[in-house]
Symmetry: C2
Subunit: 346 residues, 2 copies
């Protein structure tokens, strides 16, 4: 990398390469959408949420809105983890105020036949990334993402968000079928992420939103192994973009995850102890997180104190400031501004 | 303790005192109720669930039903964690199929005034314990329990089971009020447990059902500190019954809990890694858990294999075989029988 490129290397990428800053780079999960009035206005122009995600003009605008408003170190492409099931032939729609709904799980053979074409089906997300990268300043990183195979499988099996007990039971009662479904998702997800990297994503994030409540042996089989497989396939395609893995709710199993999955950073949820983060840093990975989104929404001196405490605790090693979960819809913008100022010192 | 008493010391109590057995003692959370047809018949005779809990004849019968059916090492008194709010003056009722509902949170001063009388209000639970102890064989232990202060507070604040986001927000926005509520609950819970021990409970269990999703500093303040305070007060009253603490969903923070709370055993939930259990045992405490209740319901060779794996992993130290959560209502009785046979070898 030349001097010139180095001088504008985004702070997020430097951190993912192991560099340590007194003030960490900062971005927020769900920084685009929900909490921003300009997003709500934009969103009202699309007929439904899926159509919005597939519209590169609108999705690029939604991605960039928080970047105009806040001095964030990274943009994350506006998309949804349930675009993959749709690309594999399962109906997906959103009930207003109730979250996602999915049609019947397609036959595994039919889904396997659709893997090849799934990336083309998702081409518009690549176009969104190209548009965002063209507008985004070079010192700000662009993150692409996908839902991790198990999390996506829970929605595909249950047909909606839930306590995942049907999906977890499926994991026990139909292990071969689940393994086949996860393999289909590993393959399509890896292709999707390769396409995102080739379209301008400089960082790839795997969201395992439902890693909670899994026994250690099950976690190994349905979380750790598929994450490793996705990353191996992306690397085999010649993509060297750093990965952030987010095993949300994995508790003490986060240590197993960090030890085995070749991500460059582990995103930590709200309940991750300080010591766990430090031990992941000592093991050679960056960490990201873990401010409570309820505290960000609540604000006040407790918010300031916790922001300071996290930076104090973790900025001896590579650390990306973020939440432990997404920004809540009714989070005051002033709290986001104040927190970013506190992190950046600007 | 004399030789004779020693010879009939319940295996559960021996384990809680640090003794190690090739085959661990076994009991199941929610072994009474729900999954048993004789319970459903009995329950249909009471007008509502709260009335059932306050009826010593019925509650003792429900406690003993699984003891007649299965060779379990312990009975746990049939009661509910929401009897304490009722004793403090908050209305509690159960909507069929929907779980608990609570009336408005009473004024803190009024609740404080009721602490003294709350134990008398709960006297029938003592009577249940006396009846059970009189019928239970001496080699089988009797467990009393209470909800831990934070978990009970979440119901009191939210008025129902939920994702606890209102209660967690309350913890940030009204820290002094929450601390006062927790202090009221520490006091009333300690008195309640002392009464249970004096009525025949040989082991006391604190259920922190909603320890999940808390940041480390909040966990210290609203979980660890109140648990320590409850146990200190019970000890100050001259009760030396061993404690089992169950910080369900606490993830990696279970290590903080085990290091600081003077329980004799830590109950582990489904996602607790084997290594975490071993490290708690090395630290001088027994562990309990952590079979997935979905796997118990599913059955089959995967259940047998996991039962064997848990015993293999943990029975080098003091270990109590149990689930990571309660028995699910539609768990086949044959799966309970099979699992108990596998644990006991009988």
């Amino acid at each position: 990398m030349s001097q010139v490129q180095n001088s504008i290397r985004p702070k997020l990428l430097a951190t993912l390469a192991g560099e340590v800053f007194e003030r960490p780079p900062v971005w927020f999960m769900r920084q685009a959408g929900r909490s921003l009035p300009e997003y709500l206005e934009l969103r009202s122009r699309a007929k439904d949420f899926i159509a919005f995600c597939f519209n590169p003009e609108m999705a690029a605008e939604a991605t960039l809105q928080p970047m105009r408003r806040f001095p964030l170190d990274a943009a994350i492409v506006f998309a949804d983890i349930l675009l993959i099931p749709q690309a594999l032939g399962q109906d997906v729609w959103f009930e207003a105020g109730e979250g996602p709904r999915l049609g019947e799980l397609p036959d595994l053979g039919l889904m396997r036949d659709r893997i090849e074409s799934s990336t083309a089906f998702l081409a518009n997300i690549g176009e969104t990334l190209r548009r965002v990268r063209a507008e985004l300043e070079p010192e700000r990183a662009l993150i692409g993402f996908a839902g991790a195979p198990w999390t996506v499988a829970t929605y595909m099996i249950e047909g909606r968000g839930s306590d995942r007990s049907r999906a977890r039971t499926y994991a026990y009662q139909h292990p071969e079928k689940l393994d086949e479904l996860l393999e289909i998702l590993v393959d399509s997800t890896a292709r999707y992420l390769v396409m995102q990297a080739r379209s301008g994503a400089q960082v790839l994030k795997l969201f395992e939103s439902w890693a909670e409540g899994l026994a250690e042996d099950v976690f190994q089989r349905i979380v750790i192994n598929p994450h490793k497989a996705v990353i191996e396939r992306v690397r085999a395609a010649g993509i060297d973009a750093p990965f952030i893995g987010f095993p949300r709710g994995a508790g003490a199993l986060v240590a197993n995850y960090a030890a085995q999955v070749p991500v460059q950073a582990v995103a930590l949820d709200t309940q991750a102890p300080i010591a766990l983060g430090k031990s992941i840093q000592s093991g050679g990975k960056a960490i990201q997180g873990a401010l409570d989104n309820l505290l960000l929404r609540s604000g006040g001196p407790a918010l300031d104190a916790r922001v300071d405490a996290l930076i104090e605790a973790w900025s001896d090693g590579p650390y990306i400031f973020n939440l432990g979960h997404g920004v809540l819809p009714d989070t005051p913008i002033a709290h986001l501004e104040r927190t970013i100022r506190r992190v950046t010192g600007r």
